[in-house]
Symmetry: C2
Subunit: 488 residues, 2 copies
């Protein structure tokens, strides 16, 4: 049960609690390894694991007091395990599915029985199936737009989106511009906007159309991204999604060093040094497995080329506050509802049933995303709680207004994530900086879901990126690294 | 002549030369002041100067071994002073004009006599006046678009661009989208694109239309930005633009600490601590006067609110390589040319006559901007030099191909600027994060040209921001700070 101590043993949160004077510390512990991995999220742990399996000596340095990065599982006041970060896996996420099986991380299907709620123009209606049908004209427009976008997405090369025939045109505009020009009904545009917010935790006007299309292609298609059954929200982990990282870290054992925020990476002809407040590690290669915007904050010696640095200035993190309300039972199920709602207004515009498989307590999950996340992130928790409950009552009735527990996680506040679900590209970035995404700089290699070519932004992408970076480093070291040697 | 020793005494450049192990240094020098200023560019030096004049004790900590930030004056091989960064001042830049007069920084008019060169579709033509007239239809379209954009710009409130009546619409699209929808002829779009590149060192598809309009309004109008005579390029400094910062620093004397890169800012109820590798300064307030994207890279204790942090993820620096070629004489003048060229192709698409007032050596100045800057920044200096000379020969004849000296400065490579001319906003940022631009966080205040409401992105904006931040801090300390007590 060591991993549960690691998970729940400390109430200490990273960030503010850390001593500001740490860089003053005089005595550095100096250690050596063949490869250092910065960041113990799924990408970093996967890279470390593959290299270790190939016989390479590895150290993983992690800023937080925990592993798992953007997956984070905590107990509610009644002990119910809640995923405060990434939580779902679905079909075609082969690496995560295999990893879950290998590590004994049992999954179950997201509750998806009954009708969904649509709240629009102040009216509440219910519908069945994945796309709201309460306004048939809007539904038809939505489906037509989705077909077009799926077709366009397939033309974006996953390894090099900037080589799409229409890359210049698609990267010169926002998704909002495309929606305005190509989707006739406002109702349809509202639904598509909600879909964009749900997938990117950003607004259609924040995103390059080319980035949107790349992301869609990397997942397979829009329904793969948006769907519950047969989509990215299909299954959940009994023990929470962080369990996968905890098990990987358990295997790596003392190779994982927590509470070790790195501030400098220095390389020369013979080695690379990774310097944290109280520790210095020397190695042949380093894999930086943190979001690009955070990688850009480290100090590099020699300084990174301008092209790489400017890329990290241009891939901001999405904005999401994940809220969960606990009730004695999932009362909406008795009313024939899935617990899924979509809305054109309110702090929470998307909800899901996040009840444990055993059926109690009832858990409603809501997301405050994009501009809503930015605005509500500046209010007090009391104000947010009231706004969230107001939404849930609208969607599911008065019973939703009196939860046993209210749990929220605002990812922009997390010093070592600074947003979720992922970094996204505004217009102009893929075409001008795309080649910087994975290109190593000397002894420095890059991992993290933002570098993935499949399921970019998802746990699956993180794992793919870790395997790719491990193989890259293996090649540099002249050591064969099998990217899938235990799982396939 | 102390300032010239400071300016030219050392060939050492910041960045790679600095010891990577500095954070390990054990012994911290601890100093105290009422206010600390981070960054000795024009904004920081102005703030320090105003506070010092009001009797406040100030320390300025600067990462580089020089002051001046994005102004940087160096001698060419023959001793001619070249501005490698910001260099021009023009009408309505009241603070800079007053500062120049006060400090004895003499100016002279940019050479603007004769015809300009336009290179378009492989053809070279000449024209007179500020707007190319070789294609009358395109010229008419350009003028019509500029009038529209100027009118729209005036509707953007400078203190709060997100409150413009059309803010949501304008911030949802790129400038490129607007050009495509509103400018009929391709020739006109090309010219306007060149104007955007020249002003922002970014592409029309990189920029939010709202940001573009704010920026235009903050300067007065498009001709204020683009013009030579009667515009932002009207006058130059005999001793280079950095001279202004050098003189300000000279007055501040020992209050300015060079070679002191800050890594941490920690505040509590009683004070703020600014921590560099070998120095810690304690104060009541700190003014952070560096570009927002670099401010976001520091470590803060407690960590900054997510809203502020995410803003710094969303304001990337422009991309420009400034190149200057020296010749025995300004030979183009004899041919009746101003030295100003605009082109629809090539590495250098904008040139100016940058000859000293005495008339020798002849200096041609070219800019490699936006996507060109990103692409050419990855090539070797030899390749760039060849591409630059090829352009100059096209515009000014064979004589341009054999310069006495070739000098270039790529601002994206500068570790403590990471781009020029300024940070810009992609779509969605002003409307979602605008309130973060100047809002203090506890004891931390923000300066720098990106926080200015007039001449944002220019030296004038830097000075305005320094005066505003000084007044803000004065108010917090209960000390009257006269923002203009010597100059007006």
């Amino acid at each position: 049960m060591g991993i549960f101590t690691q998970l729940f043993g400390s109430q200490q949160r990273n960030g503010g609690a850390q001593a500001a004077s740490a860089p003053e510390a005089a005595a550095h512990d100096v250690r050596e390894a063949q490869v250092i991995v910065v960041g113990a999220g799924l990408a970093g742990l996967t890279a470390a694991r593959r290299l270790t399996e190939a016989g390479v000596s590895v150290l993983v340095v992690e800023a937080r007091e925990r592993v798992g990065g953007r997956t984070y599982t905590r107990p509610a006041s009644d002990g119910t395990l809640l995923d405060l970060g990434g939580q779902w896996i679905g079909p075609t996420q082969q690496r995560m599915l295999a990893l879950a099986e290998e590590l004994g991380a049992a999954t179950f299907k997201t509750y998806d029985t009954g009708n969904n709620v649509q709240y629009s123009g102040g009216q509440r209606q219910t519908y069945s199936g994945p796309i709201p049908t309460t306004d048939p004209l809007a539904s038809a427009d939505v489906i037509e737009a989705m077909l077009s976008l799926n077709m366009m997405a397939r033309e974006v090369p996953l390894e090099a989106p900037w080589q799409a025939a229409s890359a210049a045109e698609w990267d010169a505009q926002t998704v909002e511009t495309w929606l305005q020009a190509n989707v006739a009904s406002e109702g349809a545009r509202n639904l598509l906007e909600l879909g964009v917010q749900a997938v990117f935790s950003a607004e259609p006007h924040d995103l390059s159309l080319l980035h949107f299309l790349f992301y869609v292609h990397s997942a397979g298609g829009l329904m793969d991204l948006l769907g519950v059954t047969a989509g990215a929200q299909e299954r959940r982990f009994h023990q929470g999604a962080q369990y996968v990282s905890l098990k990987l870290a358990e295997r790596l054992g003392a190779r994982v060093l927590l509470n070790t925020p790195v501030h400098t990476i220095a390389q020369d002809d013979s080695s690379v040094r990774v310097i944290a407040d109280t520790l210095e590690v020397r190695a042949e290669r380093v894999i930086v497995a943190i979001p690009p915007t955070l990688a850009g904050r480290l100090r590099y010696r020699p300084a990174l080329p301008g092209y790489r640095d400017q890329y990290t200035q241009r891939i901001p993190m999405g904005t999401v506050i994940k809220v969960q309300c606990l009730y004695p039972t999932p009362f909406w199920r008795a009313a024939g509802l899935t617990g899924q709602a979509s809305s054109d207004s309110g702090a929470v515009r998307i909800t899901f049933d996040n009840t444990p498989e055993r059926g109690a307590p009832g858990v409603l999950l809501g997301f405050i995303e994009g501009d809503d996340g930015r605005a509500w992130g500046r209010r007090s928790q009391e104000e947010r709680r009231a706004a969230v409950l107001e939404c849930l009552v609208r969607y599911f009735g008065a019973e939703a207004g009196e939860p046993l527990d209210y749990v929220e996680q605002s990812w922009a506040e997390e010093e070592y994530s600074r947003g979720c679900y992922a970094g996204y590209m505004p217009p102009g970035v893929w075409t001008a900086y795309g080649e910087a995404v994975r290109a190593p700089i000397g002894r420095i290699h890059w991992a993290g879901t933002e570098t993935a070519t499949i399921w970019n932004g998802y746990m699956e992408g993180a794992v793919q990126s870790g395997e790719r970076a491990a193989a890259e480093v293996g090649l540099a070291l002249g050591i064969a690294v099998d990217p899938r040697n235990e799982t396939q």
